[in-house]
Subunit: 341 residues, 2 copies
């Protein structure tokens, strides 16, 4: 029997279009280097070269047709200037704040993100952080596990944990009713929460009350969930005034991006009891987490891992490879932000 040689003659590896990677994406740690592999393109791994980055980029300037950015390494105007052959910037994230979108547009470079592949996981974590916070789950778990006398833990000493708050009937304000925000709303609807939202414009197809002003939204909510992207307009949008409008009984959940909140002000409000609590997956100066938060029981922290599930890593790998293959086959991309076809 003759061996099968594939569906046709593939290009030799050295002829394949080059996709630049600045840093290994988390997937490489978890699934090995082959997780994004394809016979339609070849990765150029900057971190494997002994050359300093600028020299490395100059060396490969003419051959790199696409960049796969996995966060951590920003794609600046300067980077793009060094690589005139780049026609696509694909990012493994949903967020685009590390890419100079305006410059991509100016240069006719297509930009693609991972679309909504993470949205469900991020929405799930938002709801998880909220229930955890309102019902003291992390604090309870820590309490039971650290308690030297478990005899008392299960008895009545959970009074010392503080009683929780009921989800049903809470007024939830969603900041940014995009893919993630809508999924958060759908989930919290099922818990009997009352939803309203703020976004750039009112969504005609949505019946939840709309507030054009985030401060007004905060004043009419018990819980504020930050689901928008980070842009010049949303930077420090959740400031002293908004937190003050939310008030002493208010709770903030952030699964968007750290700098959307004025973190220094948030920490002050949490420490001084000017708001009730926070569930945070993102921070203003990652990887730093404000030290003041580490001792607080009214704060639940996770290390920017809203998208970290096995299922979604796999879905993302499939999407990244399919998008790159589509691009190099002159087929329409599955997800696309800046279209320069």
């Amino acid at each position: 029997m003759e061996a099968c040689h594939g569906h046709g003659k593939e290009k030799e590896s050295q002829d394949l279009p080059r996709v630049l990677l600045f840093k290994p994406p988390p997937d490489f740690h978890l699934f090995g280097d082959e997780c994004f592999s394809s016979n339609k393109f070849k990765f150029l791994k900057a971190w494997e070269s002994p050359l300093p980055l600028d020299q490395f980029l100059k060396t490969h300037a003419q051959s790199v047709e696409a960049i796969l950015s996995s966060g951590g390494a920003p794609v600046t105007a300067e980077t793009l200037r060094l690589m005139p052959a780049v026609r696509l910037v694909m990012t493994t994230s949903a967020g685009l704040n590390h890419i100079d979108i305006a410059e991509c547009r100016r240069r006719g470079i297509t930009v693609a993100n991972t679309g909504n592949v993470f949205s469900e996981d991020v929405a799930d974590l938002a709801v998880g952080l909220l229930i955890d916070l309102l019902r003291n789950i992390s604090a309870s778990d820590r309490f039971v596990k650290q308690w030297l006398r478990p005899r008392q833990a299960a008895e009545g000493d959970c009074y010392s944990l503080g009683i929780g708050s009921k989800l049903g009937g809470k007024r939830v304000g969603i900041v940014g009713l995009g893919s993630i925000g809508s999924l958060v709303a759908k989930r919290l609807d099922a818990f009997g929460c009352s939803i309203s939202y703020n976004s750039r414009t009112k969504k005609p197809s949505v019946s939840y009350p709309f507030y054009s002003n985030v401060c007004e939204l905060a004043a009419n909510c018990d819980i504020l969930i930050i689901c928008c992207g980070l842009t010049a307009e949303t930077h420090h949008m959740i400031n002293k005034q908004v937190l003050s409008a939310l008030g002493k009984e208010g709770v903030v959940i952030n699964i968007g991006r750290g700098p959307i909140i004025d973190e220094q002000e948030l920490v002050r409000c949490l420490v001084q009891g000017e708001i009730k609590g926070a569930g945070l997956d993102v921070f203003e100066n990652e990887p730093d987490v404000p030290k003041e938060l580490l001792a607080l029981d009214n704060v639940v922290l996770s290390p920017h891992c809203a998208i970290f599930t096995w299922e979604t890593f796999k879905d993302r790998q499939k999407l990244v490879v399919e998008n790159l293959e589509a691009f190099f086959s002159n087929k329409p991309l599955l997800t696309k932000i800046v279209d320069n076809d």
Copy 2:
């Protein structure tokens, strides 16, 4: 101006019907003794008497017309025998496993619980424990807060936490599709989970797949959520065979009662990796929590506090008082389990 003296001449305190309390309910700690007060009945607080309990009961045998049981102190046939004037046993819990229902029925004693007043809180905690477990929220919070180098916590070291599992698409088996189980189903529906259930009988109005055998349910599920009451039939219903059918990737959530699960077997399965994880609010020998669980990261523990929210405590107080007042006014009770009118 003349002071208002109420809506009519109330009975003198000493003439009011007596309601026996064995132990102070948690509400007394939180809201003070007056939280259940009424001008229609008077509490007899066993713990305030210097007499031993049996002597105290004998002393008041003829005057006690109702018992308000708040868990912890079982209402046995022996207790009831000592107090022939009792016509109502009201419990501040939804569960009835501490009351000898058969004996109440035999003696013509009405039994009332708090109905569904807790159901939403309990369902919320079930979902909270599940998301917490699948998405490592308590473990993340502990990790970030205990991490001596927060710089690394938010960066990439969450790989060491293990990646989570996505909720969407998971097959959830609900054991006991009563008030709580139905609310859990409604919530998890919104996360894209696929629901099936086991209960004594198939519910004609429910479209979720029904398994008459809990082992068969476990074999067809990724997640088993215990929402049933504790009875002779459900004691150790979740045994070695069921856990083995659930399998290595399976997760158990218990917000019902501890002894529904064979805890020794559950601990063994968790320690040996024969199931993947557990979220437990209840334990077989409360207030004890098995020591082996305290060191496990694949287990989220809370100290039997599924009903602990301010809102629900207030709702329960209202219900208890209204039920007792209705009883002594010969009006229909709001919630009732054994009806002997």
